[in-house]
């Protein structure tokens, strides 16, 4: 089992969800957790104005996506996220990253199920 953590543009969430649905959805809804983070990277935030003065935030609002999947799904998931999150044919700075972390256990609180089927 892996925990896949992706940092994407907030406005791409829709697209990513759609492409994820194709690969992850089996009957019941596939599961996903998101939260808002601030990214400090090459890309700088959207410019804002204050009485003619230009404000260039160094932080960019990003959306973080966490999906836990069984090993068999890892590549499919990564591919789906890349597909949904990349903005131009060959991407643009700020499109984001995907990180994969090993996961040793998963528990469904409702049933107490463990491992693979708990995901």
């Amino acid at each position: 089992m892996k925990m896949i953590i992706a940092i994407i543009r907030p406005e791409r969430l829709e697209a990513v969800e759609e492409s994820l649905r194709e690969v992850l959805d089996e009957g019941d809804n596939f599961r996903l957790t998101t939260d808002t983070v601030e990214g400090h990277g090459r890309q700088s935030g959207e410019v804002e104005y204050f009485r003619g003065q230009t404000l260039r935030p160094r932080r960019v609002e990003k959306l973080r996506l966490t999906v836990c999947v069984n090993d068999a799904y890892v590549e499919k998931t990564i591919a789906a996220i890349v597909k949904g999150a990349r903005t131009q044919p060959n991407g643009a700075v700020g499109d984001g990253k995907i990180f994969v972390v090993p996961m040793e256990e998963a528990v469904r609180i409702r049933t107490g199920e463990r491992g693979g089927q708990a995901i």
Binding site: E11, E38, E46, V47, E48, Y49, R59
Partner: protein, 419 residues
């Protein structure tokens, strides 16, 4: 009205007109909050701006030519004009309006606030997707080509609808019907918001603003309605103003209560948006009747307004147009209902249906029909021209990311802790 005695300034009437003019202006920020709270975070500023910008644009337009068009010497009862009124240049500060003992400049300002808020009402129908530039052009044209003539017809002493005896105490027809219908037409032309089409829930970013806005609107509406006594009575701060004030209060309260009960019965919750919407619906419906009906009738009109508007609002989901914040559902429908019921419940200066005379109801219906046709058609033409020239709707990217950032280069809130 005793026009033979030369009128003298009445400081009491002037005091009330000054106060009520200011109160009506406060309705614009009120509307901005009312609307601004209902949209998504990414559009809160642009939505508020659609109201605020009217203060600037129409504020200038009215001073330059608006007043001349609406209240200048009548040309065939169809439109006013007086070059001496351009930029209010010919109005000496000491000149009084009609026989009301109020400086004409004060009357100009009072009327000007109406001209400002009316187009702003329309913005509710196109929130979150209309091009801001186009919107600004639209309200400037609309105020000049639709509002001013209509105001002339209904309120100028030589206006043809006025002469026919159509009653519109404080603007049910001129303000709410015209704005409501125009809102519907625009909403239909511009199409639903992306996420409405995609069936996604659109959650209001800040209902605290909406409630606050409703409060400011209620407050300002007392100036709106009770100030409109300037058209019917000397002194302005007198019986008619008192009656209008009482009816405004009664209708708003009854409507708020009715909407709440309706929702309770319909889905079991008492939403704050519902209470706020009911209040506004009631205020809209009583506007044309404020000085013409009795308080008990105001209670009835308010309750009916909520009932009818509530149903109307549900309609949009059925018919699939996206009147985002129900500018038509509340102002249009409420205005029509109010204008007609005025013909039913009025007891002064003329008798209505309840007192056995159907004549007035007919006149009211005429007024309603004319306003709907004129405003609807006019809006369609103006919007069509703007559509082919500058375009009505923002790009998909703008709509998705929100207009605040793209059009205004700002975000409504920066509440993240790090900042």
């Amino acid at each position: 009205m005793s026009a033979d005695v030369t009128p003298t300034l009445d400081s009491g009437s002037t005091a009330w007109m000054l106060a009520s003019s200011a109160m009506v202006l406060l309705m614009v920020p009120g509307l901005a909050l009312f609307y601004g709270g209902m949209v998504r975070r990414k559009n809160v500023l642009t939505t508020m701006m659609m109201s605020f910008v009217a203060m600037a644009v129409i504020g200038v337009q009215w001073t330059l030519i608006g007043y001349a068009l609406a209240f200048g010497t009548s040309h065939g009862g169809l439109v006013g004009w007086d070059s001496s009124l351009v930029a209010l240049n010919g109005i000496a500060p000491s000149r009084l309006y009609a026989d009301k003992g109020v400086p004409e400049l004060v009357f100009v300002m009072f009327q000007g606030k109406f001209a400002i808020i009316t187009p702003a009402l329309i913005s509710g129908a196109v929130a979150e997707r209309m091009k801001f530039k186009t919107y600004v052009a639209f309200i400037a044209l609309w105020a000049t080509l639709i509002y001013c003539p209509l105001a002339h017809w209904v309120w100028a002493s030589d206006g043809w609808l006025f002469k026919l005896g159509v009653l519109d105490f404080a603007g049910g027809t001129v303000v709410h019907i015209s704005a409501g219908i125009s809102a519907l037409v625009l909403a239909l032309m511009i199409g639903p918001r992306r996420d409405v089409t995609r069936g996604l829930p659109i959650l209001p970013n800040n209902l605290v603003l909406t409630l606050t806005g409703a409060g400011l609107l209620w407050f300002g509406w007392f100036g709106f309605n009770a100030g409109s006594a300037v058209a019917v009575e000397t002194p302005v701060a007198g019986a008619a103003a008192g009656l209008a004030f009482a009816n405004t209060q009664a209708a708003a309260a009854a409507a708020g209560l009715a909407w709440m009960l309706l929702e309770r019965w319909h889905h079991g919750k008492l939403t704050s948006l519902g209470l706020a919407s009911g209040i506004v619906a009631g205020l809209v419906a009583i506007t044309p009747a404020a000085g013409h009906v009795k308080p008990w009738a105001a209670l009835v009109m308010g309750s009916l307004a909520s009932l009818v508007c509530y149903v109307a609002v549900q309609a949009k989901t059925r018919f699939g147009y996206d009147d985002s914040l129900d500018a038509f559902g509340v102002h249009g429908v409420g205005g029509i209902l109010g204008a007609l019921l005025t013909g039913v419940f009025c007891f002064t200066p003329v008798a209505g249906v309840l007192e056995g005379s159907f004549a007035q109801l007919g006149k009211q219906a005429l007024g309603v029909g004319v306003a709907m046709l004129f405003a609807g058609l006019g809006t369609y033409l103006i919007a069509k021209v703007l559509d082919v020239t500058v375009g009505l709707r923002t790009g998909e990217q703008e709509e998705r990311d929100g207009l605040d950032l793209h059009v205004h280069g700002e975000r409504g809130y920066h509440l993240e802790s790090a900042s």
